[in-house]
Symmetry: C2
Subunit: 256 residues, 2 copies
Amino acid sequence: MSQTAAIPAERVTAAILVIGDEILSGRTQDTNTSYIARFLAALGIDLCEARVVPDIEKEIVDALNAMRARYTYVFTTGGIGPTHDDITFESVAAAFGVGCYHHPEAMAAMAARYKPGEFNDARKRMAYIPVGAELVQNSVSTAPGVHIGNVFVMAGVPVIMRAMMDAIEPRLKRGAVVHAATIQTTLPEGRLAEGLGAIQRDNKTVAIGSYPFYREGGNGVQLVARGRNPDEVEAAARQIEAMLRALGSEGTRVTV
Amino acid sequence: MSQTAAIPAERVTAAILVIGDEILSGRTQDTNTSYIARFLAALGIDLCEARVVPDIEKEIVDALNAMRARYTYVFTTGGIGPTHDDITFESVAAAFGVGCYHHPEAMAAMAARYKPGEFNDARKRMAYIPVGAELVQNSVSTAPGVHIGNVFVMAGVPVIMRAMMDAIEPRLKRGAVVHAATIQTTLPEGRLAEGLGAIQRDNKTVAIGSYPFYREGGNGVQLVARGRNPDEVEAAARQIEAMLRALGSEGTRVTV
């Protein structure tokens, strides 16, 4: 942790738009957001916001237009399958003010995947993409995602979304990676809050978070220092450890 | 499923605002959204949107003001502990244009919880709530949530959030509960999409969703019919089963 990282001047930001009634009904537990969050963090891209909207075109369009104007990238998940409730490509096209068309390369790749007669109209919808979009390869099941402007449109099925993120990665600008140090303690937050606040005030380039947990086998708190300069993160972490020691507790470094 | 439900005229809607850097960094997997979604669904309240924002006052204020103007209720999670990164009460107060004060009842309840000298300034912050707010009881760890206007402010720690939802439940207007029937098949979506779309067009008061899954032991699709009238849901479900049968597959009713 002793090297001094060269920190790119430009911050690279992102938002996630999760599209799907099944998340809002509680039927499906979204796990894509946390996967994408960690994926982007490893590239130094700051995830700044996430939203979940239903399968309603106006909701998708409004959220996408708000987010794409504000962040370097927007990643959407869900709604690109062959059924009537899959309306993401049309909605993204509407947000960009363009139409959709059957993309020749996507049509050819999908036609090659199916037996004669099986590449029906519903399946062809998965190749009906916004004009001006580029394809995002799907190494799992062929039907592509797309990339238009600063928006990446991915499947909702996690195994396919992950394959698409791998395909997208080389196209992304990178930022300075955030370094984190995590110290776990059994002291309650209320006893360490004053000292922690003072350390935050002394370390303005490091974001210090306090996350209590309630688990079988004992409660505790994880104190996390995050920042782009590893030396500054380490200095803040040592101040946290010294503060805990002064309160009569040895903090434990943990990897999360 | 043969009774005809009396359907309240007024739709009751909700949004969730998840507050916390730890969700956007990928450190913590949010599970509160799906819990609240199912909790509200059981009361006939439609969850229409969810957002995750960082621990930044302006972001919290802007999202909260957008959501509280639009939905019957807004539920927030996170940021009400004693540490410096817990800024939700102040941010909610700013959204409503009010100040915060040490609520006497919350102060008394918390003072009774701690030993003499342990109810320090950091802990008193957890009783420093927006003017005009009512308390939401916390049966786990005393420090309250609050209710102001149409906004309910809850803890982020799941066990505490759940206790707060229980305390909130009697205050909520209820809507007509959505009934769902789920039929599972091994047919691929591309083969059933045309028939499913026709059933959706014939059943305008029922929302039909198609959710493919990739699991150990076999892939498949769950077809879900959802609506406020159970007879209409059942009629749509039977049409889906008949459609699958015509394609040579027996659908299986499942409970999710």
